[in-house]
Structure formats: structure tokens, C-alpha cells
């Protein structure tokens, strides 16, 4: 089912997000609190932006198709780096030999010559039927960059095709429009292919200056009449918390409160068992957060397509 974590704000030690909290991101790979019927064992990926790094508009990228909780290199790295923006993804796929477990399928996706990254929690039902029709909506320069077998990478290519430019010269409004247009393309192609089965698309997008996330399901609550209704058809969760800074305060990992909110986490599930300081994003919603003068500004809108 995948898990995603996005952070934007004051520089943060990545270890505090990925390993330290009692429901840490890495723990969600083998012991997820929500939608625990499927573990997230098919790879880990992370992109992180640090203004002090060389070529700061472009992120540092780490991807592995292996189990992250056995990854000594990852652990060591997270104790050292303190970026101001992170997008991390744990891949969870059904337990079948048909799945392709490879580094090419690990999110977040970020093509050469762009600095925008996308990670996806969900799955497009009957994606194989949609693929060739989706190609019509993707610019050739992005189509050739698709290397893996996931629906998510195709969604990413559509999103890039909907942006006026692949690097920097787009506004938050351009991002908002591109995300909605991407969902409309998927909806159009699903109609053309007569696909009307529950397909979640929780998308997380970032370029280091903003983080955006959708909580959306196409044809929510519908599955083939031949199969038993699965308990897995819950609406994929999406949460956020924000405050002055994230860290270990009063014996727990959480956002420190203050009048000025300078940091935000948007994630598939809260990083702590106690969810008191987390807000659940409503269904059918797009959330975009960016920093304006050191303060987090959140835009949320209904997705009504």
C-alpha cells in the first residue's frame, strides 16, 4: 500500500523522522499502524533538499529496493544530514511473483533535468489497459524517461507534461492546476477503458520549496461484483502536523507549538502513536504547503473532478 512522508521547514535531522518516533517511518515498513494487511517491503526512496549543498535546487537522492531496516548506510546517513525538505517513500506491493522489485520502481520519481519529485500511495486498477492511451498525454521528452513498470511513474510523466516548465519557473498555482489536470487525464482514460473500480491516488509532490499531497480515490467503494468486498478498500489515510520546529520535546517527538508555524509534515500516517497533534486531511482534498517568509502557508481545496 506504500507509505509516504514529506517534510518542509527548519532543517531537521532525518533520523528524527525516519527512525526515532514510536511509529517512525521505517517502522511503518514492517509494522504499519494503519492498513496493516500489507507490509511495505518493496523498497525505500528519499529525496532531500539542502540549501547549503552543491546545486541546491536539485535534491540528494537515495533509493534501494532492499529492506530499509537492515540498511546500515541509510541509518548512518540519516544521522548526518539535516535538509529543510524531504520526500520519502516506502513501497508496498501485493505478495506475488508478478511484482517487479527493482530500483527503477522505487519512488520518489525524479527525471533528469527536472527538480520536481513525485511519490504515490495507491494503485490504478487495470493500469495495463490504460498505459497506451495515457501515452497520448505525455510529452515525448518525458515518455522516453519512463524506466520502470509502475503506474506511479506514468502519473509523474503526465504531471510534468502539465507543467509549463520542468525546472523552477512555475508557480504554486501552476502546480495546483497541473495536479488537478493530471487527475482529470487519469479519469478520462479510465472512462475510455471502462474502468470503474476503486483506485486510490494519494500523490506527494515536492521541489524543495513546497510540498503538495492529494487524498483521492477514483470510484471509491467499488470493486468487481465477483469478488468479496475487501477490508483493504478503506480510503487511504493522509495526515499533517505543523508548528515552529519538529523534534524531541517533553519526552516525545512532535511539532513544537508557537504562533509562527515554520515546519510541516504531511504523511500517510502519524509518526507517533499519540495522534493528538496530528490532523487527518479530509477525503477528496488537495493540500499544498509552502514557506513564505519562514512561515508555512497551507492551501487546501476540494478535488471535485
Amino acid at each position: 500500500m506504500c507509505r509516504i512522508l514529506a517534510y518542509l521547514g527548519k532543517p531537521v535531522i532525518v533520523d528524527d523522522l525516519l527512525y526515532q518516533p514510536d511509529n517512525s517511518f521505517i517502522k511503518q515498513s514492517y509494522h504499519p499502524k494503519y492498513m496493516s494487511h500489507l507490509l511495505n517491503l518493496a523498497g525505500f526512496g528519499m529525496v532531500a533538499w539542502d540549501p547549503g549543498s552543491y546545486n541546491p535546487a536539485h535534491p540528494f537522492i537515495y533509493k534501494t529496493p532492499h529492506l530499509p531496516f537492515y540498511d546500515e548506510n541509510l541509518r548512518g546517513l540519516t544521522k548526518k544530514i539535516n535538509p529543510h525538505c524531504i520526500l520519502a517513500h516506502l513501497r508496498g506491493v501485493s505478495y506475488t511473483e508478478k511484482q517487479v522489485i527493482s530500483i527503477q520502481n522505487v519512488h520518489p520519481f525524479i527525471f533528469d533535468n527536472t527538480n520536481i519529485a513525485l511519490a504515490h500511495n495507491g494503485a490504478l486498477m487495470n493500469f495495463d489497459m490504460m498505459k497506451y492511451q495515457l501515452a497520448e498525454y505525455i510529452k515525448p521528452q518525458y515518455l522516453k524517461d519512463i524506466r520502470g513498470t509502475t503506474d506511479s511513474e506514468w502519473i509523474y510523466a503526465i504531471l510534468l507534461s502539465k507543467l509549463p516548465s520542468p525546472v523552477e519557473s512555475y508557480t504554486i498555482e501552476d502546480i495546483r492546476v497541473a495536479i488537478i489536470e493530471t487527475l482529470k487525464v487519469l479519469q478520462t482514460v479510465r472512462h475510455k477503458c471502462n474502468i470503474a473500480i476503486n483506485s486510490p491516488v494519494n500523490l506527494f509532490i515536492s521541489n524543495g520549496k513546497f510540498i503538495a499531497a492529494t487524498r483521492y480515490v477514483f470510484d471509491y467503494g467499488w470493486q468487481p461484483s465477483s469478488s468479496l468486498m475487501s477490508a483493504h478498500l478503506t480510503y487511504h489515510s493522509l495526515w499533517y502536523t505543523y508548528g515552529e520546529s519538529y523534534g524531541f520535546y517533553d519526552n516525545e517527538y512532535r511539532m513544537k507549538n508557537s504562533k509562527i508555524k515554520s515546519s510541516i509534515i504531511i504523511s500517510s500516517e502519524p509518526l507517533t502513536s499519540d495522534t493528538a497533534t496530528w490532523i487527518s486531511v479530509p477525503e477528496y482534498t488537495l493540500v499544498i504547503a509552502n514557506l513564505e517568509g519562514g512561515e508555512v502557508k497551507i492551501i487546501s481545496q476540494d478535488i471535485n473532478i
Binding site: 467503494g221 461484483s225 468486498m229 480510503y235 502536523t241 507549538n257 502513536s273 495522534t275 477525503e283 477528496y284
Partner: protein
């Protein structure tokens, strides 16, 4: 022999308004009297409730740490108020701490005893839940007033007249399992029907009407006075708060879930909450007359059904609380 103190205490709670003396005797036989000193934590935020406390003497306050506040005192509880009922019914960690304000005495009904009541005295369990549900309905109305204030301050857009006209023209239509291509045997294996035995679920289904509804079809209008219950089979339903043609989302109710309006338990409350399909949907409906019939003639079915009705109202209250926090944050971001 029931302790006279407990007998006196329980007779002064809301429970005595719904139960006759023999039902109260049964309830009292396994209820404990618990004392707290000022400052004692009756229920800790983040912990699961192991039963329901009912205050019979003293006061307690609700305190919560939220995204917006390190710690805030939300409300005071007094004689007759319940503690831990939401955590127990939803099987979720409590989202607030309850702390005794003064020396406080409570009656405690354990989770185990409630389960025992459900098995052997279903009507007593239902009546206990009825008392709780009535309080929940009043709290929903209370929260609604705060939300309406936020909605009035907010610049949220109202749906266009055309949209409102289109929505008002959509009505659910009745259908059959054959027409809708639903395998009834498979349906019976799903929640909530799997919670009943074979005979009960057949009886329950006899009272239900299958309806199909297009996307954006209003199933329960705001302020609707007629009690009604639905179970979602396929699709989804969005609950929203409506005020002056402005709509703000509460939560989405998905397959295998029962939802209802507050009129199912509280005859005088009609919150400004509507339930509208967010996808084309297939639903089973229980009308007022069916609900009344089940209550009068099918005690065991009614007890299970009422348990679900209460849970749906508790979920609704949770959604209203979350909306309250969300709108507060959105105002910050204006």
C-alpha cells in the same frame, strides 16, 4: 444485594430515565463505585478506555493537547456526565484527558460487563447506549454552533445555484439485488451483516430496501426530522455541515458501514449535517417504521443494530470535532 449508595447514585443518572427498576437492578449488580481525589487522572489522553465512568458526585475537566495548543481545558463535566464512552465505542485512544476537579465519585461499567449485557440483556445494553447517544447528539449541536461561527468568518465559496438545482433533482431509486448484480450470499458475509447470526441477518434484510443513488445525491438532508439509517454496499457517502448554502466536509463513509441521522436516538436534535453520495452508490435503507418495528419486536437484532447506530453517531461527533480544529487552522492560514 446491591449497595444502597450505588442504587441511590444510579437512580439520579440519565440511565434511570430509560430503564425500569428490574433493569436497573441488573445493571447495578456489576457496577463499581470509584473515588478520585482532586487532580487524579480518570482517563489519560492517548489511552484506551476500559469502560464507562458516570460522574455521580464532584466535577472533572476535559483537557487536551492539540496541534494548536500545548494544553487546553475544553470543558467541565458534572454529575450525570459520561467519561470514556467514545474511546470505548470506537476502540480508539482517548483524544483528551479527564481530570478530577475536586473529590469525585463515579460509577464504573466495565467493557467486560457491557459485553455480558449485550449477550444476556441486550435491551439493557441498548438503553445504556441510548443514554450515551443522547448526550452525544447534544454535544454535536454544541460543536455545530462553534463551526457555524467559523463558517461565517470563512471565505469558503457557496455552490452555484445551478449545482444546487441539479443536486436537488437527484433522488435515490429502489432496485433489487438481481438488478444491481449483488450476490446476497456474499453480502451476508460482509460487515455489518456478518455480526448477526443467519436468522437475524435474514430478518434484518427483510426490513431493508436496496437503493441506488447517483453521485451527488442527497440521502439525508440537513435538519431532516425523520429518522433513517443506511448501510453502504458499494460507493461512498460524504457527510458535510451546511449553513447558509455553504458546505464544509466532515468525512466519507465507505462500504460495509452504517450511518444515520441523530433523529434515530434524539427526537429533538436535527443538526445541520447532510449525507450526500460522493460516488454513485448502492445502499440498504432502514426507514422509521422498520426501525420502530425492529425495536419493538426483535430485541437481539435491535441491540446489535443500535450498537452500530451509536458507533455511527460517535464517529460523526469525532468528525465534527476534527472539522472544528481544521476550520480553526484554516482561519490561521487566511
Amino acid at each position: 444485594m446491591v449497595d444502597q449508595t450505588i442504587k441511590q447514585a444510579i437512580s439520579e443518572t440519565l440511565l434511570s430515565a430509560y430503564m425500569n427498576s428490574s433493569e436497573l437492578e441488573i445493571l447495578m449488580s456489576h457496577v463499581a463505585l470509584v473515588s478520585f481525589s482532586a487532580g487524579d487522572v480518570i482517563l489519560q489522553q492517548g489511552q484506551y478506555s476500559e469502560g464507562i465512568h458516570i460522574i455521580i458526585d464532584g466535577h472533572a475537566f476535559i483537557s487536551a493537547r492539540t496541534l494548536e495548543f500545548e494544553k487546553s481545558d475544553i470543558a467541565t463535566l458534572a454529575k450525570g456526565d459520561f467519561i470514556g464512552e467514545i474511546s470505548l465505542l470506537l476502540n480508539e485512544a482517548s483524544n483528551a484527558s479527564i481530570i478530577a476537579n475536586s473529590d469525585t465519585q463515579c460509577l464504573f461499567i466495565s467493557r467486560v460487563y457491557l459485553d455480558f449485557l449485550a449477550a444476556f440483556f441486550p435491551m439493557i445494553k441498548s438503553k445504556t447506549l441510548l443514554a450515551i447517544a443522547n448526550k452525544i447528539c447534544l454535544r454535536i449541536i454544541d460543536s455545530q454552533n462553534k463551526i457555524i461561527n467559523y463558517m461565517e468568518m470563512s471565505d469558503m465559496a457557496a455552490p452555484s445555484i445551478l449545482n444546487r438545482v441539479i443536486t436537488s433533482l437527484k433522488n435515490p431509486g429502489t432496485t433489487t439485488f438481481e438488478e444491481a448484480n449483488v450476490d446476497v450470499n456474499k453480502l451476508k458475509l460482509r460487515n455489518p451483516f456478518s455480526l448477526f447470526d443467519q436468522q437475524e441477518r435474514d430478518e434484518l434484510l427483510k426490513h431493508m430496501t436496496l437503493e441506488k443513488a447517483a453521485k451527488n445525491c442527497v440521502l439525508i438532508k440537513e435538519n431532516q426530522e425523520v429518522p433513517v439509517c443506511y448501510v453502504v454496499i458499494y460507493g461512498g457517502v460524504q457527510s458535510s455541515m451546511v449553513h447558509n448554502n455553504r458546505i464544509t466536509k466532515l468525512s466519507v463513509i465507505g462500504p460495509n458501514t452504517l450511518f444515520c441521522n441523530t433523529r434515530c436516538v434524539h427526537k429533538d436534535t436535527s443538526p445541520k449535517i447532510n449525507f450526500t453520495t460522493c460516488e454513485h452508490s448502492l445502499l440498504l435503507k432502514l426507514t422509521e417504521s422498520d426501525l420502530n418495528l425492529l425495536e419493538k419486536e426483535q430485541a437481539k437484532i435491535w441491540a446489535r443494530l443500535f450498537d452500530m447506530i451509536c458507533k455511527s453517531l460517535v464517529s460523526l461527533e469525532r468528525s465534527v470535532q476534527k472539522l472544528n480544529i481544521r476550520l480553526n487552522i484554516e482561519l490561521y492560514n487566511r
